[in-house]
Symmetry: D2
Subunit: 287 residues, 4 copies
């Protein structure tokens, strides 16, 4: 059923981004650990915005794994608007993530922000994330393109869909095609949600490229009560997964706590999601 939606195949000859362009029904499959994106599974990535302590991230990893999440997320290097805000635990946070990931037997993804750190992180992380503010950091795109790690490329909140495709092409041109696209909301005039989730744009990206596409409704909306409906919407629209923020105690989070789901809300999300995923002829593991 997933393939039925790909109505306008783009031939390699004519595409301005030939390495990532869709050609017929074949989807690229991208693995983080043993979790495959772009195939028959609808994948849930979950975790806190920022790694805060060994205990916090270990607990989160266990909860995510037990509830049906398949990949752990957590930021150790945080892009912050103000130079005076908490910038993350850095390499120490990466170590916390590694240990939590191994213990709970769930792979993890984390943001990389500087070219210098790519080599050091490559040996330690399961997947890179390129954040929305770095989508146009061509230097970083090239550096990641020279690794062979899977990378999730978030759309810039001020970027057009084609610019997003071209950013992926920059990575692929270096030889790394293990790219997952993530729509995380764009800037618009509408103030009620933090950004405007461009679900139509995510579907467009799925049809235009061969890459897996997921959404991040937590950053897109900033409103916990919208996360579960939008996750189901992503599944029904034929996308490949979702990344959500959870926190044991959102009111105490060091970063973006307001938008995080409690564990109980996350369980409800998974329970409500499953029938929709199955109605689409796809599956969820461990649920």
């Amino acid at each position: 059923m997933a393939d039925a939606k790909v109505a306008i195949p783009v031939s390699e000859e004519s595409s301005p981004y030939p390495l990532i362009a869709r050609q017929g029904a074949a989807n690229a499959l991208v693995s983080i650990g043993d979790v495959v994106f772009g195939g028959s599974e609808f994948v849930v990535i979950a975790g806190p915005c920022a790694v805060e302590s060994q205990e916090q991230i270990e607990h989160a990893a266990r909860m995510v794994q037990q509830t049906g999440g398949r990949v752990l997320r957590g930021g150790a290097f945080k892009p912050r608007t103000s130079p005076y805000s908490f910038q993350g635990l850095g390499l120490e946070g990466i170590e916390y993530l590694r240990r939590a990931s191994l213990k709970a037997e769930i792979p993890f993804i984390t943001e990389v922000m500087t070219v210098d750190s790519v080599e050091e992180l490559e040996a330690r992380v399961d997947a890179f994330q390129i954040g929305t503010r770095n989508m146009h950091n061509f230097d970083l795109l090239r550096a990641i393109g020279e690794t062979r790690k899977p990378v999730m490329l978030k759309r810039g909140f001020g970027a057009t869909l084609k610019e997003w495709m071209f950013a992926a092409e920059y990575i692929a041109k270096g030889g790394n095609s293990n790219i997952i696209l993530c729509e995380r909301g764009i800037r618009s005039f509408a103030p009620e949600t933090r950004f405007t989730l461009d679900l139509a744009g995510a579907v467009w990206a799925k049809q235009e490229s061969c890459l897996p596409v997921i959404i991040d409704p937590s950053h897109a909306t900033g409103l916990p009560q919208l996360i579960s409906p939008l996750t189901r919407a992503a599944a029904a629209a034929g996308l490949d997964g979702v990344m959500v923020e959870i926190h044991d105690d959102p009111s105490q989070a060091l970063s973006d706590g307001d938008q995080a789901l409690t564990m109980r809300q996350f369980e409800t999300l998974i329970r409500e999601l499953k029938p929709v995923v199955e109605a689409m002829g796809r599956r969820m593991e461990n649920v």
Copy 2:
């Protein structure tokens, strides 16, 4: 399940738009003919952008009804950017719609553009539509508020979510609470789709108000290949229906042909939609 998503009830006392505000789990039910919006049915409205002839609209009505559409749409008075563009067939078009609707036994909805015509149209149409360019035409909102006809209020493409709520309150203040909200895309910088469908905003509106909420993916995106995925997304997000444009021969349409679905694409949409609607614990009639 639908009620589970309404996480933040707004009390009547504190709402700035008390007549339409959500209070607990109860949804307002709005009927067009015998079709109920806001209940257990997920409703598909379909038809051509503009009424072009008696034959065209009769054929469309029959096709819509046979395929699983529940309400016929068609414009007789068209809001056009240029005063030199085709402005619709006017009252003659309304007559065509009426006859087609009666023959195919399917109610219809059509746009009203002027205060003067409200009285004349009230006796002839099953439901009014207020278009995106008139969401802030307070004069028209008041005039419709004095009728008792169901009305679909489209969100202005430059309007915030709260402004949309207030526009509904203008109608309700006149005594007419038969209001269906329709998100049809907002203006953003992203050029690949005609507008940016604000699905999160539609879910927000469903949680904030007691009114049925649907989306119009045809006008929102202008791209036929996105209509079916977004329709399923609306169902999975807990919204109440969808309005889509269809045309026998999109290339010959007098208005907005590019975004219309062929009848065959429309049949596929209905077939792909049904399992998602059922997974949400809701139903489609006549499918």
Copy 3:
């Protein structure tokens, strides 16, 4: 010097809005009372957002006239987001405006919101204003097109420049070419100012059409400290005038008080503006 900027004349044959399109260097001149827009004068329109009392508006008219303002503005019918907000004094407010205008010997402009009121107001006002929310109210555009009163057409805050041109063409098609265009800010993602003043768009409109073009920095920014710099910018860019909000006691205004200039700030604005207007080879009257 003004004509030197019109670099791309649009020929009548090719323009999609032939009645308002620029053809060579000739500007249309539009008069409100004895004040001419589009000629050598740079015109300042000023007044309170809403008419609140006879005393208030008489005082404002006198102050505006004495300080160098040339046209009085004041709203008697107010488009308000909420149906529960102050909607203006209506016809009583129009009477207050008329008396204040006659006494201070300064013409006035005021917003018209409904088709029904056009005839009644035509006999009583010096100029109509069509507000940003009504730019796409085609019914109202047509009704104003059938009068011969000057009309200031504000750009819709969600409208493209071409849509604004077409709205003017709707008016001109009825036979009324006494149109002044007013850019008043568009919606954007930037939250620091209320709207984003599109000064480049206003200059574009001046080059694309033969009509006078002014700006409304008060509504565009909502920040009093930006009004004077932006007024000078409008003059230096070759535009024809400005409309600003003033209030004796902004903190007590019934509508939009935060953005109003005090009389003292208005005097400073005029004093700082004059040398820029003269540097452009134009003039201000009564200063």
Copy 4:
């Protein structure tokens, strides 16, 4: 007169970006070569988008210097949406710029895109430019902060005004306060100009910070016929300068030729600008 516009001084204590915040009337002065930004001079920076050859840039430097431009611009490292587009001449282009700059006795500014190249370029350029796509490249901001070179920080086309202030604070925190802010247009829904120049935002930045602020109307609008009016507008609004693109033969430019001014248009711009600058009580050198 310039100081009169700074109506809302921000005290150091309360500012979230204390190193760049305005405190009273004092402006920071930033020099590129012997040209001072933020003082009594209104500065024009001009040059081609990309350095294409030694001859081209030498000719441009001479023309800019003779016509009244004070700083030469030219890109040797070009941020391009597509990895397959011309990426600039790199270090060779920097050498061309240096020679042209020395010969014509006019300092130059050029974009820096990677952290690795900062040290190498620091010894060779007169000023750095951080482009709109790198405004949120915190790594690059920090690296530039550790140099003592003047830097022009362009606003991200998707960035709020406060985010722009914070980006400047990142640079200042490293010890480098030689920052010039440049507004170059933001993304909006309006398609007629390439971006929407936020002149009000530039004035806001001038009032909020102590830094010099200029605009780049060439990139903001993409329309040569708007450059001269907007340059005058910047001067009249109290800003400190402008950066414009010129090209001997815009139709043959390797990058962004459509928006470049011919030398003759540039001469007209300078001639029309001077009286406005003088009316503001400021001056232009070499004109």
